[in-house]
Symmetry: C2
Subunit: 343 residues, 2 copies
DNA sequence: CCTGAGCATTACATCGTTGGAATCCCATTG
DNA sequence: CAATGGGATTCCAACGATGTAATGCTCAGG
């Protein structure tokens, strides 16, 4: 059986509370006593029971991280930073998948309470943050949202998706592209905040340059995966071929993952990138620089996101009434080999 | 403040224990009483405090999943299955990163005890399972290892890496390849169990076919990442070019991630795959079928791994003295476009 | 009308830890 | 030498849920 403070206390010849005092270090303990306790601690290989501690002071030391799709490379990179940085703060990360289902998000919040996490980092896909609206505010655990959300009063951390998309589109226009397709726009039942904002930035750049939007160049994959992106692009290419219409001269994918799918389809059809069509992405995942050709994309510091989210969460846990923070993470366009200059 | 069993009991006009009985459903409760309690439960939006429950019955409902590198696509896919399947069993997944440092693994085990997880799924990279050896068996939490491990008495789940590597090599030989480079072999300070076994399978196939091993075709990247693989391959190509030696006719990467790096380098040098060099991988990550060209690789059911690991863990938690299980997950070679038939 | 069986419910103790209040001890001071 | 102070330590209770043992209740049979 595992040693408890009582066992340690008995061995050291002190009371359990003194052991606790040594461990937590808030109440002063005489050096000689501390040594005795510490040696007993080591001798019995004492490990505190977090359930008991959590019960006593209401902290579990666990933070939930809920991402929409855990299997993407982007999620993986983000998760890694969260785990590493949470460690430094003495937290463990409990991983959850929110999917694209808003009910799932609600369930997660209640699960969060069940499993007693101290806080929740939520990366919602959907615009309507039903979770937050539905629940009584006081009933919610401390939450920080990754991504842009409408309702105020919620801590959030995000890149300026709209600006980044606008800049990327402007870059394509500046390099001579005129018919720019997007992959990951909003439409039908798929409406994500991120999607809407990136599309808005794209539209803004287009209209600022006096270019018309072509609805058929707005591809709406069923999921933000390489497979779905590939099938949408295939459909577009087929249509163009059948009707004898010209292909777009650039494809702006709202994630690098989808860009990978797009590049694959183009390569399979013998369409040269970037000579015939330029392709750009978003996120700068590790694989982006190893795409063929290396992918021009939007980079931002994922570790900074994790760090900001955890800081905000720590603050929120400490003070439930603190004013909501809205932290914007800087981004930049990294130029690689998937964009050509057209005359 | 959150409702407790006491509050519910007061509202329903019964004792706390009766509420507990209703919730857990082991002790029979009269229908009329149960209804009253259930309505009180709903009315107060009662959520059990897992810390308290955990303290009482020694279960936390948390499982730790420790993977060597969380940022890889492979980790992401595995993590997703674990999270989904753990949910079904009423567990939450606590994510940990083991890195390639054995000390880190030891630390994880003690952290596991600190954070009071019910069990630990460990994917060690290193052969020497120091963790298990160092600790007193009775002190260890229930552990299941993903991957091949030498010491007996530990539950493990894995694919037959050696056989798969042998079959893949045989396939390359059968299609006419004679000089097969490997990326991810063991050497220097990097010695992982997986690496050793895959290399062994490769060697076996080679010698069975009467082919000589060429030491310079054994590439040992510093990490199993696309970047490291790319830099090793670049070095090899440079050497061949400088010395006027022939290139290998196939490259067997021990992970798909590394294959992505290899494909990128080859494309960058204008070396056509598979016409001049065939490339194969291992893992069948989602991106593999979207590589350029689509990657021939070893596929296995990652969900089956997660399922088997969780089942084994559940069994182990239930009975610490159960005989250790060793579950082998089936694999197959998926043929895509990165291998050519040579005459 | 009483007794006993059998089921439903309650009272109590307990899991391990730690705040808060009370107590103890030693040293300093009058 | 006694009183005082303050730092160190101890005692007690409580966090919330649940196992155990005891109690209460209802109903059948004598």
């Amino acid at each position: 059986m595992r040693a408890t403070v009582r066992d340690v206390a008995k061995l050291a010849g002190v009371s359990p509370k003194t052991v606790s005092n040594v461990i937590n270090g808030v109440v002063p303990v005489r050096a000689e006593t501390r040594e005795r306790v510490e040696s007993a601690l080591a001798q019995l290989d004492y490990v505190p029971n977090m359930s008991a501690r959590g019960l006593r002071n209401g902290r579990s030391g666990n933070i939930a991280l809920a991402l929409p799709d855990l299997s993407t490379a982007y999620s993986a990179e983000l998760a890694r930073h969260f785990v590493e940085l949470a460690h430094e703060r003495g937290w463990a990360i409990q991983l959850e998948q929110s999917g694209n289902d808003p009910r799932r998000e609600v369930e997660l919040v209640s699960r969060a309470r069940t499993h007693l996490v101290d806080g929740l980092v939520l990366n919602p896909t959907l615009l309507s943050m039903s979770v937050v609206a539905d629940h009584d505010e006081s009933e919610l655990p401390p939450i920080v949202v990754i991504g842009e959300v409408e309702p105020d009063g919620i801590d959030q951390v995000h890149v300026d998706s709209e600006l980044a998309a606008r800049q990327m589109t402007e870059h394509l226009i500046a390099t001579g592209h005129r018919r720019i397709a997007i992959v990951g726009g909003s439409g039908g039942r798929f409406r994500s905040a991120t999607s809407l904002l990136r599309q808005r930035g794209y539209s803004a750049a287009l209209s600022a340059a006096g270019l018309a939007e072509e609805p058929e160049l707005n591809l709406v994959p069923t999921a933000w995966t390489p497979a779905a992106a590939a099938s949408e692009l295939t459909a577009l290419l087929d249509t163009c071929e059948r009707d004898g219409r010209a292909l777009p001269d650039a494809v702006f994918c709202f994630t690098d993952s989808m860009a990978l799918g797009v590049l694959h389809v183009l390569a399979g059809r013998g369409i040269r990138v970037p000579d015939e069509i330029s392709v750009v992405g978003f996120d700068d995942i590790d694989e982006a620089s190893f795409a063929i050709p290396a992918l021009t994309t939007v980079r931002f510091d994922k570790r900074a996101i994790a760090d900001a989210a955890l800081s905000a969460l720590a603050r929120r846990i400490g003070d439930a009434d603190a004013p909501a923070s809205d932290i914007v993470i800087a981004h930049e366009i990294v130029h690689r080999d998937s964009v050509a200059r057209r005359l």
